[in-house]
Subunit: 190 residues, 2 copies
């Protein structure tokens, strides 16, 4: 299997370069991840839990530097066009391993977010999407449905746990799952 993310950090400030470089540096250079940046996004390849953890780490670091900071991330697992990679070999997703969004330690960073789930190549994909949205609605983070995506609001760590849970849960039905996630902190619209 191949799994990873492409993510971008957007810092609405004149000193955006320092904030972005510092945030990417915060992920370090762990041996179990492959990290590569270009002018548009940063690639992280590894197991899904490690990839989510790394992206959260980078975004949390950017948030701590203040201001209005947005994360846009594409998470993918099982794309048949990608090579198998030993760095990405998780066990199969098991419900007992999935986090409960409300019980992971909070980050102390309040965010608004929206995400779209795409189970690919699977005719029953709408049922999977509906099931995962219902799971989110059963929690405390749900902040409304929009066209094409679902809103979440709450602590950054809890939002990430909920999105990771949807990603892994959908993978029980569809070998190839993609999630696009946008997280916003400090918007002056609020």
């Amino acid at each position: 299997m191949f799994s990873g993310a492409q993510f971008s950090l957007y810092v609405m400030s004149d000193d955006f370069v320092d904030v972005i470089l510092g945030a990417v540096d915060a992920m370090g250079k762990p041996e179990d991840l492959r990290i590569e940046s270009d002018d548009i996004s940063t690639l992280v390849v590894g197991t899904p839990p490690r990839v989510f953890e790394a992206v959260q780490t980078a975004y949390a670091e950017a948030c701590r530097r203040g201001g209005h900071v947005v994360l846009s991330a594409l998470f993918s697992r099982g794309c048949p066009g990608e090579p198998d990679d030993p760095i990405c070999t998780p066990g199969g997703p098991e419900a007992s391993e999935l986090p409960e969004p409300g019980v992971v330690p909070p980050s102390g960073i309040e965010v608004n977010a929206q995400f779209s789930l795409y189970p690919l190549g699977y005719p029953g994909y709408m049922e999977v999407i509906g099931r995962e949205i219902q799971a989110v609605k059963a929690g405390t983070l749900f902040d409304g449905s929009k066209h094409f995506c679902t809103r979440l609001s709450g602590d950054l760590a809890h939002v990430f746990a909920a999105v990771y849970r949807a990603f892994e849960s959908a993978a029980r039905d569809s070998a190839h799952v993609v999630i696009h996630l946008t997280v916003s902190k400090g918007s002056p619209s609020n």
Copy 2:
């Protein structure tokens, strides 16, 4: 059918609020589009060509105000969970109507971009994706493959035409098509 976009503009500058509000205003209030903004994104509902045109208009306006400006957009058509809407009734996609990316008038704005195409609910989706990537490679905008997405570089209007073409062409095979597009102008990484 229901079709539209959720898009966000990211302006890496202290005066981001004015640039974003001005860019959204540049779309006007046309009767054939429904436009709604919240703190995370702006919704545009309408026929696919009009939606692409409106999003391009907003982003071009933001670009003209200078600096490093990024567009992140989700385009969707045919989602079975969405209501039919008369405002979205295009004719079926026909190849003869699809733009040739190189022949639309240029905008004068040079950008780097990447996009991901998701034909949903269709077991043959990888063939559709492969076909559309080949179509892009046959043109002059192709700027390399990345994990999970394809890079384009060139004039903003040509990039939009190429992405719109992939969107409509994929709709011949899959009733529900989503594209996520990121466009970047003025990155100091270049």
